[in-house]
């Protein structure tokens, strides 16, 4: 066994972020300690992050205790992320009501306990509540039906 998988992965994630930010920092003016350029502080932090990542990685190798990562709700992940992207993509074109309905309907299925009827009821209910709160209550300037639906 390689040691604690969680720590190994966490270490790699931090090293990756550290190297990526560090590489990007090199593209900016570093300057000197007296007159720091835009790259100075990020480069310094990236160095620290990379070192911390290495420490976590090494600790992971010597860690004998197993810590299982546990299940990942893949379907929920895809549905929720998809729902957010679809909202962002359609809210101006389709308008708030249709866009929100798609978003809620999709995210409802992220739960294993929700069936089609439940999802429909939730979609109608939540859309109604949101429109009442955000559009009528708070007066946000959002179109209920967007230009994509104009015929």
């Amino acid at each position: 066994m390689l040691g604690a998988l969680k720590d190994l992965l966490a270490g790699l994630v931090f090293i990756a972020f550290g190297l990526a930010f560090g590489y990007a920092s090199l593209g900016y003016d570093i300057g000197s300690a007296l007159r720091m350029g835009p790259g100075y502080f990020p480069l310094f932090l990236s160095g620290i992050l990379t070192v911390l990542g290495v420490v976590i990685l090494v600790q992971g190798f010597f860690q004998t205790e197993e810590s299982p990562i546990g299940p990942t709700p893949w379907l929920a992940l895809v549905l929720l992320v998809g729902a957010l992207f679809i909202f962002g993509f359609t809210v101006q074109g389709l308008g708030l009501v249709p866009s929100l309905m798609i978003t809620v309907f999709m995210s409802a299925f992220a739960s294993r306990h929700t069936g089609v009827l439940g999802a429909i009821a939730l979609t109608i209910g939540l859309t109604l509540v949101c429109v009442l709160i955000f559009v009528y209550g708070l007066g946000l300037p959002l179109r209920l039906l967007g230009p994509w639906l104009d015929f």
Partner: protein, 501 residues
């Protein structure tokens, strides 16, 4: 007396009909999100930030503060009735509170929690009124080197209090700092880490980060093991305390308030630690420590007072120094900035109405909370029966609309999704998200003060050690890290957090 004049001004502000209403809405929402497991005040305040754009600054801040301390009350209701902490700080309350509920003593447990919290809230409101202004005067003398050291202290102290690996917490802070630097450099205007995306020139949206990491990641976490909650106690009766109960809780409430007031000022979720510390303390001083864990009323009274005291004193560093003690305070700083007010020592003198209004509103809010929580307990019990599968699509819907409406920009909504995935991966690898958000907020400030200090000192880093206040702060920061790493302290820390399970 200056204090009375100031409090008078505070009452005048807080008691305007509008502000009473906002305070009430705040604590009502706070109780609601506190009661419902799976939604915390961090995500809620993040979601409501955009809505407060159009409010008066005082009203906005009164409401947001109300959500925060209101959640402390609500969280304990859930802990007592269904053995699930609605809020991380009420995790300890569940130990003895739930046992009491099982024994048919849910009423006294809830009453203890509410009364203890109210007492703590009243005392800490006074502490805030007494100590914040002199502290702010001291802070006015701070230059950039002192601010830099203070920020370092704040960041490092937050890891001493977080649970889990110290190195991972440090890495999360640094990652947060780096994410905070995304956007245009303040001195030269150079866009950094923007991938040419125009939307990133003004930085990663604070709301997207908070909602992604504390909202979406948390939902995914909860969906890993979907369980259907059962409410054991459907009917709560006998909300009053017997004379004996009352006598037993006085000392724990006083001690809890003291512990909470001190720990709340410290950065990094002081109110959570305060609750744990108070529980350990009560167990230690008790003549019958074996009773703890079987439904001891002291085990509810102490931690509940402590977490509410801590929730309130954590406003001290915010109002006097402009430095957040934990993620919720970081969001409230965001609210100040949105309103065009720079949080810090100047707030007391420049915006006395705002400053004293918030303080007095806290006392008023605590009063509302006792009224909301005791007579209306039946309503909250019914709230607990709302299943999670209804709640999380609502969170997603609110998150999308709320975030989109800030700049009417879809980019911020995409950012929630991306940051949510990053947050979920990190949480899954046992990296706590709170230090990340703290680092994110403080990153730009830290860089600004570092650069300014280096210009003042002509590039000599010794400036941080040569100035006495700065040196003292850095020393305290070093001590915080050493303490966190010491093996004996680590064991103790794990022990304290173990009680959570």
């Amino acid at each position: 007396m200056e204090l009375f004049a100031n409090l008078g001004l505070g009452f005048e502000t807080a008691l305007s009909p509008d502000n009473i209403l906002y305070c009430f809405i705040g604590v009502l929402l706070g109780t609601l999100v506190g009661v419902l497991p799976g939604i915390g005040p961090t995500a809620t305040i993040g979601l409501l930030l955009p809505i407060t754009f159009n409010f008066e600054p005082v009203s906005a801040l009164i409401m947001l503060a109300g959500i925060y301390y209101g959640a402390q009350y609500g969280g304990s209701t859930t802990a007592i009735l269904i053995n699930l902490p609605g809020e991380s700080s009420s995790a300890v309350t569940a130990i003895d509170g739930y046992k009491m509920a099982r024994q048919g003593r849910a009423g006294p447990a809830l009453a203890t929690a509410a009364l203890g919290s109210f007492f703590a809230g009243t005392v800490t409101t006074l502490i805030l009124a007494l100590f914040a202004p002199p502290l702010a005067r001291v802070a006015l003398q701070f230059g950039s080197p002192e601010y830099f050291s203070l920020l370092v202290l704040g960041l490092l102290a937050s890891i001493a209090l977080a649970h889990g690996s110290v190195v991972k917490a440090l890495a999360m802070i640094v990652l947060g700092l780096l994410l905070g630097l995304v956007g245009q450099d303040i001195y030269t205007g150079t866009p950094r880490f923007t991938f040419g995306q125009f939307e990133l020139y003004s930085g990663i949206s604070f709301v997207s980060l908070a909602v992604g990491v504390f909202g979406v990641a948390e939902i995914l976490r909860n969906l890993e093991h979907e369980t259907i909650r059962t409410v054991a106690v459907k009917h709560v009766s006998g909300l009053w305390l017997s004379k004996d109960d009352f006598k037993r809780i006085i000392a724990p409430v006083l001690r809890g308030t003291a512990v909470g007031s001190v720990l709340g000022i410290l950065p990094g979720g002081g109110h959570v630690l305060a609750a744990f510390a108070s529980y350990s303390l009560e167990k230690k001083v008790s003549k019958e420590p074996e009773k703890f864990g079987t439904g001891a009323i002291e085990g509810v009274a102490g931690p509940e007072s402590a977490n509410n005291a801590g929730a309130q004193t954590s406003f001290i560093p915010l109002l006097t120094l402009g430095i957040p003690a934990h993620p919720v305070m970081a969001l409230i700083i965001g609210a100040f900035i949105i309103q065009g007010i720079t949080p810090g020592p100047n707030v007391v003198t420049d915006e006395p109405e705002l400053f004293w209004g918030i303080i007095v509103s806290m006392w008023l809010g605590n009063l509302f909370l006792v009224l909301l929580n005791l007579p209306l307990i039946g309503l909250w019990v019914r709230m607990l029966t709302i299943p999670y599968r209804v709640l999380f699509p609502a969170i997603i819907a609110f998150a999308s609309i709320g975030t989109f409406s800030i700049h009417l920009n879809a980019f911020d909504v995409y950012a929630i999704a991306v940051l949510g995935i990053i947050g979920y991966v990190l949480v899954k690898l046992d990296c706590e998200p709170a230090p990340l958000l703290l680092g994110f907020v403080l990153g730009p400030l830290l860089e600004e003060h570092l650069r300014r200090a280096m210009i003042i000192s002509r590039g000599d880093p010794m400036v941080f050690i040569e100035r006495p206040i700065s040196a003292g702060l850095l020393l305290a920061a070093a001590i915080a890290v050493v303490i966190a790493i010491l093996p004996s302290v680590r064991r103790k820390r794990e022990e304290v957090f173990q009680e959570e399970d």
